[in-house]
Subunit: 219 residues, 2 copies
DNA sequence: CCGAAATTCAGTGTTTTACGCAAGGATGAT
DNA sequence: ATCATCCTTGCGTAAAACACTGAATTTCGG
């Protein structure tokens, strides 16, 4: 059987070299290259026969999600394995939705790294232990989403409420938000009240922290 | 000559293993262990003859600075080399003040890693290229610190201001902070004004985000 | 079509913040 | 002794936020 051809994506060269070094004496895996960003990756993907992409994610944010989407669209046959430095629930779920096939936590060791690559190469999904729990909790505990749940963190907010929330987190005042959205300040206040009631928050600062925790804004 | 005995400090096991793997075939360096936090480190330092500590810093915050201070105090002969994922100026300067002897950027490669360990082992300081520039700009451009500088990012806040800042970031109102600190609300307002003037912020939300970025509070 | 939710807006009054101005006492370094 | 900084407090006005109640319009699934 041919070796699995892997490419590493990590903005930190030192991390890339470390991973490469870790995989270098594996019989099943060949590291075909290390790249630092999406554009370098896309170039390599056009000329190299890659099976698996190992993508390091440091900050939970839209950036990596977008990258996954693009890779999936251009190269749907390539499996994407996430090496995540965060275990943030919302981020994990978003990478899965975007098309990642596996998830490694920062606490993985060499064995788990190799095992996960083999697993997703064979068409199965792979999740680190700690992460499996989170996914289970999320997807099994809450059977349907047909009724309004009042206690789950995000998702319950409407589009408009999400929009308003982001603006608050970006330091806009009520009036500024109203002007930006071409609505009355009353509307904005109303949205704010609804947001805080839904997520069960008390202050604007709590709201900002909620937005940050859930990657609604850049920090 | 004996090999240089190095210990790795990184919360991400996968990173530890990668670094270890990178250093494993060096003739000059022996990796004596990987630890994930300060308490594990202190235990190891009592039983192992360590020359150099390679400390990974992901988020610029007080946490790592404090760690450096403690290590320096307990083991002043050991050289601390920072592997920083951030190039944030204020953070770099703070690690130096705390006692770090060298600085590697995330863009370092294996050669630079080894070279930097050898350098600080020999008693010299080592700074990555990109970081040298920053330090140069900072220390050569501004000859002394005998006059009041109004533009440096952090570190300029007094203890009390830091305390107030944290309380704001924890959602307390002016009045609540005043009660908590047994001072007048005017005092609190005054502190807030000074904080925002010093760091050049406009709103409370900005202040909260600053606190989060600098790890002053849990999020 | 109906009903629930989302989105919009208003009144009224209270509370909290924002912001500029001024200043006294303590501490510490030069 | 002097100067800077820190911590403290005060006042007043304008702006913003908050609390509470009520309601019209749109949207969208069943």
């Amino acid at each position: 059987m041919n070796k699995i051809e892997v490419i590493l994506v990590d903005d930190h060269r030192i991390m890339c070299e470390g991973l490469k070094s870790m995989l270098s004496d594996s019989h099943e895996i060949t590291v075909m290259g290390c790249v630092r960003n999406l554009s370098e990756l896309l170039i390599k993907l056009r000329i190299l026969p890659i099976h698996v992409i190992l993508l390091s994610c440091y900050e939970p944010g839209d950036h990596d999600i977008e990258m996954i989407r693009i890779i999936q669209r251009e190269h749907p046959q390539i499996k994407i394995l996430i090496l995540a430095m965060t275990a943030q629930e919302s981020f994990i779920l978003r990478t899965l939705k975007a098309g990642a096939k596996g998830f490694l936590s920062k606490d993985a060791d060499r064995n788990e790294l190799i095992e996960s690559i083999l697993t997703i190469r064979n068409g199965y999904d792979y999740y680190s232990k700690s992460i499996s729990e989170i996914i289970l909790k999320r997807y099994l505990n809450q059977p349907g989403n047909n009724n309004a749940q009042r206690n789950q963190p995000a998702g319950v907010l409407s589009d408009r409420e999400m929009e308003v929330l982001k603006l608050y987190a970006e330091s806009y005042t009520n009036q500024e938000i109203a002007d930006k959205l071409f609505v009355s300040i009353r509307t904005v206040e109303s949205h704010k009240n609804n947001i805080m009631r839904k997520i069960n928050l008390k202050t604007t600062v709590d709201m900002v922290k909620f937005a940050i925790r859930n990657n609604l804004i850049e920090i």
